[in-house]
């Protein structure tokens, strides 16, 4: 028999599934031209309830479903984070969908269902379940990427994301199989005890292959080539979602796989990938003129900083990863939400030239985007600063001076292209007439939430840092 507490340990996911299905079921009952905002409201409610459920889980930590999932501070942190990302993205999509003439309520359902996958990824302690969760989250986002069905560029990005994503999951799965072969188990904890007695070459290959698969998901170099194309083509709110949610979840999996199993031999992989991601991401971003592509390269670089914290290992490195994931989500969702609003009908206005003179035309929006950019650079009183600081602190503690030097030089270089956005907004005169729509209420709320989170993490990070630290300790035991 499955004890009832097991269901509590799966409660956030269950709520999301119920609401996701609800949205899917109501959708066909609505008329062709009905507004889909009602469905959005239902989805939002689902996301909020699942966040509450995640908080409720604090009293029910432990394993469930035959040790398939494990609820602990670590998983709760990521559940809340993913729930928040989903909620904010849903809010930001209300007007966007109307604007782009997207009349499919499944959009909201898919966001909820892929969030289920992401949440499961953070609580699963069994490699095959992790694989399934990964697929649940991915399949949803593949479809979401192609949601502007009339725009060939969107469909193309969906196809690219799908092909490269499945390619990557195949690698991950092969890694799982080899790990199973090496240890006779797919449970993270059993693997840990087996590996403690000595690792076979098979296990090394398994870890490497799993890293390849997850590397694709987090868009770290050299597995990053899909990122700019997919981010450019996909609808902007979807990019906000898939550049943060699956990334956070994949980082959670990577943390579990690398640290909970105490797997050997990944250090130089991570080290090289971190250096490559930071460098290639930043260099790529320097020459971009399309804001979505620019942010895509920036997200590659940001993944690189997170990997620096991985290389730092220990509990402080892990908590740096966790904190960075949260800060990154806040600022990146915010930046893409602004981009989605400015893009206008058919995502016509996405180049830096279209942002010229924004400081005059929409001072509020420009100010908000400026803060997100400053946070991405890592300027104090924003979450981005503290996250970066914490990452480099962790790396210094592990005596990775070389890596840190590469990292800080990269972050100085990165300032250039983030500042370019600010330069265009405030210091360039517009070349053509770019209309800016009135700020819809829902989007305003979601931007305010991102802004508040960014500033909160920068000014009063104490509680979140403590929580991240507690989660990290759970993981390394």
């Amino acid at each position: 028999m499955i004890p009832s507490t097991d269901y509590i340990r799966l409660l956030p996911e269950l709520i999301l599934i119920v609401f996701g299905l609800l949205v899917m079921l109501i959708e066909p009952l609505l008329g062709e031209h009905n507004n889909r905002k009602g469905l959005g409201a239902i989805a939002l409610m689902g996301a909020v309830l699942s966040i509450l459920a995640s908080f409720y889980q604090t009293g029910y930590e432990g394993a469930a479903f035959f040790d398939m999932i494990h609820v602990d501070t670590f998983s709760i942190f990521f559940h809340v984070l993913i729930g928040l990302i989903a909620a904010v993205v849903i809010l930001a999509s209300f007007e966007y969908l109307n604007l782009q003439q997207i009349r499919y309520g499944e959009y909201y359902g898919l966001i909820l269902l892929s969030s289920v996958g992401m949440m499961l990824m953070s609580s699963a302690v069994e490699l095959v379940l992790i694989f399934i969760a990964l697929e649940i989250s991915s399949i949803g986002t593949y479809i979401l990427a192609g949601f502007r069905r009339n725009a060939p560029i969107s469909i193309e990005s969906s196809m690219k994301y799908f092909l490269l994503g499945s390619f990557a999951t195949a690698f991950f799965l092969y890694g799982v199989a080899l790990m199973f072969g090496a240890t006779g188990s797919t449970s993270v904890y059993t693997i840990a005890t087996t590996l403690a007695q000595g690792a076979t070459p098979l296990a090394y290959v398994g870890i490497a292959l799993m890293f390849v698969g997850l590397g694709f998901k987090v868009a770290s170099a050299p597995f990053h080539i899909w990122t700019p194309d997919v981010y450019e083509g996909a609808p902007a709110p979807v990019v906000a979602f898939m550049s943060t949610g699956p990334k956070a979840a994949a980082f959670a999996v990577l943390l579990r796989v690398l640290f909970a199993t105490e797997a050997p031999g990944w250090f130089w992989l991570i080290w090289a990938s971190a250096v490559l991601s930071m460098t290639l991401g930043n260099i790529g971003a320097l020459v971009q003129n399309n804001v979505k592509r620019l942010l895509a390269y920036s997200s590659i670089a940001q993944a690189g900083y997170i990997l620096v914290a991985f290389a730092a290992a220990k509990d402080i490195g892990i908590s740096a990863v966790i904190f960075y994931a949260a800060a990154y989500a806040a600022m990146n969702v915010g930046a893409f939400a602004v981009a989605s609003h400015l893009a206008n009908v058919g995502e016509k206005y996405v180049t830096l030239d279209d942002y010229a003179g924004l400081g005059r035309r929409a001072p509020g929006l420009a100010a908000v985007l400026t803060i997100f950019m400053l946070s991405l650079i890592g300027i104090p009183v924003t979450g981005g600063f503290l996250a970066k600081f914490y990452v480099f602190q962790a790396a210094m503690q592990s005596h990775l001076t070389g890596l840190v030097i590469i990292g800080v030089i990269n972050s100085a270089v990165a300032a250039y292209y983030y500042l370019r956005v600010i330069v265009y907004m405030y210091m360039r005169e517009p070349q053509r007439d770019v209309p800016v729509l009135k700020m819809p209420f829902a989007l305003g709320v979601s931007l305010a939430a991102c802004l508040a989170a960014t500033i909160y993490l920068g000014v009063l990070p104490g509680r979140i840092l403590d929580y991240a630290m507690a989660s990290a300790r759970v993981l390394v035991r």
Binding site: L374, P380, F389, I422
Partner: protein
Amino acid sequence: MYNHILSIVLFTPLLGALVLLLIPKEQKNAIRWVANLFSLAGLLISLPLIPWFWALRTQSGFKFIEGAPNTWIPSIGAGYYLGIDGISFLLIMLTTLLGWISILSSWNAIQDRVKEYYVWFLVLQTGMLGVFMALDFFLFFVFWEAMLVPMYLLIGIWGGPRKLYAAIKFFLYTLLGSVLMLLAILFLYFHHHTVTGAYTFSIPELYQTAPQIPYHYAIWLFLAFFIGFAIKVPMFPFHTWLPDAHVEAPTAGSVILAGVLLKMGTYGFMRFSLPFFPQVLDPIAHPAVRGTIITLSIIGIIYGALVSLVQKDMKKLVAYSSVSHLGFCTLGIFALNQAGLSGSLLQQINHGISTGALFLIVGILYERRHTREIAEYGGISNVMPVYATITMIMFLSSMGLPLLNGFIGEFTILQGAFIESKAWAAWAIPGVVLAASYLLWLYQRVFFGPVNNPKNEKLQDLTPREVLCFVPLILLAFWIGLYPKPIFQIMDQPVQQIVQTVRPDLNKPVLAQTPIPSAAQALPVEAGK
């Protein structure tokens, strides 16, 4: 009030910025009034510090301490922890004064995006004060970095024709310097943990452990700090951002940039580089370190002055003269003795006063004629007599004429350098001579002679508001020139402490025992040698 004076001084400008945000941007005059009120309030509120600090001047350690270590983010050991000593006290007073003056001076100069301008300026003011007050490395770094953004925007939005280039150059240079500094800070932090078992960014606590780091590590840390601060100062060869930034920045931005921002580099040397790394600076064990820095300073002095001599643009001339003056400041600091350090600190204040005034002077002419080409002017003293007089005073102060502030500063620095090596002083002296020549030549070309250019015939003399900007600066210039004793007394204790940390073996020279009472008494000492 007494217990929270630092926080109040620190956050008054920020409060002003928040209030400004509430005023609609069309009401430009209301915005100007509010901004000026808050900057004046910032100055007035810092005035009580003078008597209060005076009473405590002989006590060692930091005063007016607020907050405590590790209170802000306990898990990483960062705290909201403020405190000042004589060094930071003087720089804070300079900051509040110059902040008020530059905001007052931009009344007419800024017509575009008035609201944003004042908001950013007030934010900048808080950032600068925070740098001087922070006793926690994390907090220090937060202010240090946060300050970059408003300055970047001030140059980039309200600057001259090549503002974009200048702004981004300024930003990237300083950011690169500060990230290297961050590495060194983290190293100190972890070193402190290895020694004591406690994680903290508290500067007074790090003072205890940092000097024990072995030389072969410490030299790298020193270098990281040095580059960060040297870019800010800027020392030769890191100075290339300065002329661009100065020329393109709006007048008030230049005033603050020259008056306060550059001082952060020298402040960093005095507050961090010296007390943290006595092992590196030890002039007997490692003479090369100090020798290199002194050489760079002297190159800066001469190079800055020579380049000033050939400038056709007034603002660029003043900008390069800053490189020269700051060369004196670093020369004094790395002379590593009482006279050198005191002179350097005094010269930093002097430079804030006189160069700040010089930028205002250039700005006033620019506002009227929209050109800074020296060749465009001539005979201005006939048209603007008050302006010409004030300019003369400030030029004389900047070139170091006795009875004015610049003299005392440069003289004390040269004394300090002379004690260490006669050659250093000898090399630095041409800097003084060159300063006189480029400034007097500039004065001659702009103010003397007939009014050749018809556009200059109708120039309006200074308005009362503009005169008001100069009054405190002139008063200070004369006061420091005639009676610098109180200032020396304020800086005496912290400077002595630095000297003792860096060179405990230094048998106290004549100067350290008798604090320089005034210029009149200081002269015979030099003559006696």
